[in-house]
């Protein structure tokens, strides 16, 4: 297990190297650049700016310089917001996005798994139909529709919750609406997933054995069904985490949450090379870490998997 973990950590290095290299050249391949929108810039000033950001150097040299910086976890200055460094922007926005993402994911997992189990146990009865109808809505209604509807109902009509902004303005209440909105499609998917896998396990031979041993139905469910039935949900958590972080771009815009999503989209529009690179690196690290954690949890849950 420890050796597997160390090997996976080491494999991070080449993976990240490839991601950094590819994205570095890909962004620069696209026409235009960070300063292309500032029209009527005198040639001398433009040259000056380029020189300041070392962008007058040949591309390979820029690349090597950038690699050196990234290894020291220095993403350089933002090309758009000239008074702020990229590190600063990541440091202020990443915790917000992470808090929102993790809250939403926890909500989605806890509610999704429970609803899925109840649905499976009450298969084809009204709790099942209700839950699965809600799930279909959750999967098919996009976040930018769900968000404003919740805002309208809970913030404007009922005035229970703030319509937007973040902890500093409204305290913990502020996290509820964006987190619920963000979690909805994932809750729906996890509910359907766990319903299907509980149903499958319930029909398996070893559950028939457990019942034939005279165990109580509650013991059969908790002790014999759940461990196997939760494996597909665990597998889904890796992609879900990355999805929930990128999905928060929309939710952050709807609820004016000061997270990583807005700077990311703006950086892409503005060709803010250093900011784009930093975002790509942060998201990749998140995804890789999430997948590693999923693999480890998988190994703990399923004795048939052993890591050597």
């Amino acid at each position: 297990m420890a050796r597997f973990f160390i090997r996976r950590l080491l494999s991070l290095v080449p993976t990240m190297f490839i991601i950094v290299t590819l994205s570095f050249f890909l962004i620069r391949l696209a026409p235009g650049g960070p300063f292309a929108r500032e029209r009527d810039l005198p040639e001398a000033i433009l040259q000056n700016i380029l020189k300041r950001y070392h962008m007058d150097e040949p591309l390979p040299k820029q690349y090597l310089r950038y690699l050196g910086d990234v290894i020291r976890w220095d993403f350089g200055p933002s090309l758009r917001y000239r008074d702020r460094s990229v590190n600063e922007m990541i440091d202020t926005t990443l915790p917000v996005s992470t808090a929102l993402g993790l809250t939403a994911l926890s909500l989605a997992v806890i509610l999704g798994v429970n609803v899925g189990i109840v649905s499976a146990l009450k298969q084809n009865k009204w709790p099942d139909y209700t839950a699965m109808s809600v799930a279909v809505v959750g999967i098919s209604v996009p976040l930018f529709v769900m968000g404003p509807i919740l805002q309208m109902v809970f913030a404007i009509w009922l005035k229970w919750l703030p319509p937007g902004q973040w902890l500093s303005d409204h305290g913990l209440k502020a996290i509820i609406l964006p987190a619920v909105t963000l979690s909805f499609p994932y809750f729906a998917y996890i509910a359907r997933l766990s319903r299907a896998s509980v149903l499958e396990v319930l029909r398996s031979d070893y559950i028939r054995t457990a019942r034939a041993k005279g165990l109580k139905e509650s013991v059969v469910i908790v002790k014999h069904v759940l461990k196997g039935a939760l494996l597909p949900v665990v597998t889904y958590l890796g992609p879900a985490l990355s999805g929930i972080v990128t999905g928060s771009v929309v939710v952050e815009a709807v609820f004016v949450v000061p997270g990583l999503g807005r700077p990311f989209v703006q950086a892409a529009i503005n060709r803010d090379y250093t900011m784009i690179m930093a975002d790509v690196i942060v998201y990749s690290l998140l995804l890789i870490t999430a997948n590693l954690v999923v693999d480890l949890v998988y190994g703990l849950l399923d004795p048939r998997i052993s890591y050597k």
Partner: protein, 327 residues
């Protein structure tokens, strides 16, 4: 004679409601099981053997399944009318089961020790330590080498034959009155089959457990059983002692089954006999003899009405118009 009957199945009916219609998987099955007896139930796939025995334990999935009638008397009490918490004290304790596929019948996520101990703690009221000692003892009886080391393994660390030994040890751990073995050797290769059958025979004889052995293999029942019930399309078509069934089969279906066993002692160049046609689809079956389309000796009445069971001698029955009055 009836005093030592411990399990009595009377006119058991189990139906499944499907989109295509009503499937009468078991349609009026009756049999008695005596103390220490080994009873074989033989039939093709889909003849209702497994469903019969799941119904005895009330383990039929409801819906789509439904126990449509009959009684299952165990020590004088009807299992089918028992509330769930009462029948649970019988399952795994007084009547236990082993299943066809040992590869899937043990929970792959739990240690063998966990799965064995929970049954013993539940029914025998032992503490976990005693239950573990008892489990180790049972595994040893079932022929698992160094059980004290292997008991904490997971099922995937055992071979198929070893897993079936574990299942047998588990099923017998509460010293049941009845063991229902549902095709216990079908998923195993031939050399292991013989060992597992020997083990079941040996252990149940030692513990005085009555056995219901469900199988489609005549070879298996011949060596193991005192009495044999032959099932076809959800009903018992012939019953008798093993000697009677093999020495003097009455029902054309039983005769066909026995003829279609390959024989090593007769050097012939003939093709192996097989019963022509397919087992009937038991959905919406009319009231005819379900075997008549495949029967060489079918009479006109076979197409109209199911034959009443004729008693040829004590415990020797056959449901065929050839032996019924008024044909």
């Amino acid at each position: 004679m009836t005093d030592d009957v411990i399990l009595q199945v009377k006119d058991l009916k189990t139906y499944f409601k499907l989109d295509e219609g009503l499937l009468k998987a078991v349609d009026g099955v009756s049999f008695d099981l005596r103390k220490g007896e080994t009873l074989g139930i033989v039939g093709e796939s889909g003849s209702g053997k497994s469903v019969t025995n799941l119904a005895v334990m009330k383990l039929i999935p409801v819906p789509p399944g439904r126990i449509a009638g009959g009684e299952v008397l165990f020590q004088g009490k009807d299992l089918l009318k028992m509330p769930d918490d009462e029948i649970r004290t019988i399952r795994g304790n007084k009547i236990s089961m082993i299943f066809q596929d040992p590869m899937t019948s043990l929970n792959p996520f739990l240690r063998i020790s966990t799965q064995m101990i929970e049954t013993i703690v539940l029914h025998q009221g032992m503490n976990k330590k005693d239950a573990k000692d008892k489990s180790i003892e049972m595994l040893k009886l079932a022929g698992i080498p160094s059980p004290e080391k292997r008991i904490d393994s997971y099922p995937h660390q055992f071979s198929g034959g070893m897993r079936q030994r574990v299942m047998i040890a588990m099923a017998l751990s509460c010293n049941p009155e009845v063991l229902i073995a549902d095709e216990p050797t079908t998923a195993l290769d031939v050399t292991i089959q013989a060992q597992i059958l020997e083990l079941i025979k040996d252990l149940t004889a030692r513990l005085g457990t009555a056995v219901i052995l469900i199988t489609h293999s005549l070879g298996v029942v011949a060596g193991m059983c005192d009495n044999i019930n032959v099932m076809y399309a959800g009903r018992i078509v012939e019953r008798g002692t093993a000697d009677e069934i093999f020495g003097d089969p009455k029902h054309p279906y039983t005769q066909g089954l026995i003829k279609s066993v390959p024989r090593l002692d007769k050097a012939t160049q003939q093709r192996l006999f097989s019963i022509k046609g397919q087992p009937p689809n038991v959905i919406n079956l009319p009231d005819c003899c379900p075997f008549y389309p495949r029967c060489d000796r079918a009479l006109d009445i076979c197409k109209i009405k199911y034959p009443a069971t004729a008693e040829l001698s004590k415990g020797r029955n056959v449901a065929c118009w050839l032996y019924s009055e008024g044909k």
